[in-house]
């Protein structure tokens, strides 16, 4: 499992692209789909690279995305997730 993930409220998104541009590991891309207001919300294209750092959330001017760390499963020492 990747270290983190994002939650996206697609209907709030205005397609500015800040989250896509400033994600340090290039996890996101604006999708070709439209939301109800006609904007292209982001989706994950490199989900496995998400660290859950929430930089996308810090940049989003419309509170439409945020990153969070996945809970670490207990017996994970030594194994690759």
């Amino acid at each position: 499992m990747p270290k983190g993930s994002v939650a996206i409220t697609t209907e709030r998104c205005k397609g500015c692209g800040f989250c896509v541009e400033f994600c340090p590991t290039h996890v996101l891309e604006l999708s070709s789909a439209f939301n109800a207001k006609g904007y292209h919300p982001p989706h994950m294209i490199n989900a496995e690279k998400c660290s859950g750092c929430n930089l996308c959330g810090m940049y989003c001017p419309d509170f439409a995305i945020f990153g969070y760390r996945n809970p670490v499963d207990k017996p994970q020492k030594g194994t690759h997730s």
């Binding site: 993930s5 205005k14 500015c16 800040f18 810090m58 001017p61 419309d62 509170f63 996945n70």
Partner: protein, 296 residues
């Protein structure tokens, strides 16, 4: 993707009035980005949010007070600082934050800014500088670069723009900083620091306005401005504020420029008045019930 998503929650939302979202801000406007830094700065401290008030003037930036789930005052254009001053003097226990635009705070409200800094009034002032009067259609403000095109200056203006950190520093502010909407983490740290300090604290944030400032000057969208900030910014903490002038296309000097101790207005008033000073409103004794005290 997994069930954990159902339980995740963006902490910023606790500080927003959910029923007022989506905001009126245009796609690519930077004001909302600054709100994230502000919300995280507030949440990261042991600050009593019940004793925290936010005051704005009028403008796109002035909408911030209405979106924050705090005691909010949306005042008249240019007068956020006088309202905030009254609030602070009437109830010195409050943490009072002014959040407004460059036109509001430095153009129509410029005189109030100067004098609040001179008095070292215990306020934190956040100025979102998009270099234009945005809400009313892109008229030139005191912060609009002289060569820039605006609705009221189609041939540019024949005057230099205000270097805000320099004037608030000269007037006596005890804390002066500048960041851009690109510097989300630095801005959060600076805001956290400023929230804890006493006296007049001023933070300027350069922020994209794709709809007016940038469109009138062929500067692309909000993202283009953010990328440009990233490219042109140079962090110079402690930089003398006369060196922080914004040259079009030149370096954008950002950082914490001033951090000094100076007696604030209320402390000075108490000191000068000595035993003649009574706290207003009179401190309640025993029971903290609402309504009148014994005398009335």
């Amino acid at each position: 993707m997994s069930t954990t998503e159902l339980h995740v929650h963006n902490p910023v939302e606790d500080l927003l009035r959910q029923d007022r979202i989506p905001t009126i801000w245009c796609p690519g406007c930077g004001i909302g980005t600054t709100v994230n830094s502000f919300a995280h700065a507030l949440l990261g401290q042991d600050i009593d949010l019940k004793k925290t008030a936010i005051v704005s003037g009028i403008g796109c930036s002035g909408r911030v007070s209405g979106y924050m789930n705090l005691d909010s005052f949306h005042t008249t254009h240019g007068r956020a600082i006088p309202f905030a001053t009254g609030l602070k003097l009437a109830n010195p226990e409050l943490n009072v934050i002014v959040y407004s635009g460059d036109g509001d705070l430095t153009s129509i409200g410029g005189n109030h800014l100067l004098h609040a800094a001179r008095r070292n009034m215990d306020l934190m002032v956040v100025c979102v500088n998009n270099m234009i009067y945005a809400m009313t259609g892109g008229q030139a403000a005191a912060t609009t670069p002289g060569a820039a095109n605006s609705t009221t200056t189609p041939y540019g203006a024949f005057e230099p723009e205000l270097n805000i950190p320099q004037i608030v520093d000269a007037a006596g502010a005890c804390f002066v900083a500048r960041w851009t909407a690109f510097h989300v983490m630095q801005l959060e740290r600076t805001m956290a620091k400023a929230l804890k300090k006493k006296g007049f604290r001023f933070i300027e944030i350069l922020s994209p306005c794709p709809t007016y400032f940038q469109r009138k000057n062929n500067m692309g969208d909000g993202l283009a401005a953010m990328v440009d900030y990233k490219k042109r910014s140079k962090i110079k903490n402690g930089c003398p504020t006369w060196e922080t002038v914004l040259e079009p296309g030149g370096e954008i000097i950002v950082g914490e420029f001033v951090d000094r101790e100076r007696e604030d207005y209320l402390t000075r008033m108490r000191r000068q008045l000595g035993s003649n000073y009574t706290e207003f409103p009179p401190q309640m004794e025993e029971h903290e019930s609402e309504g009148c005290s014994k005398e009335c």
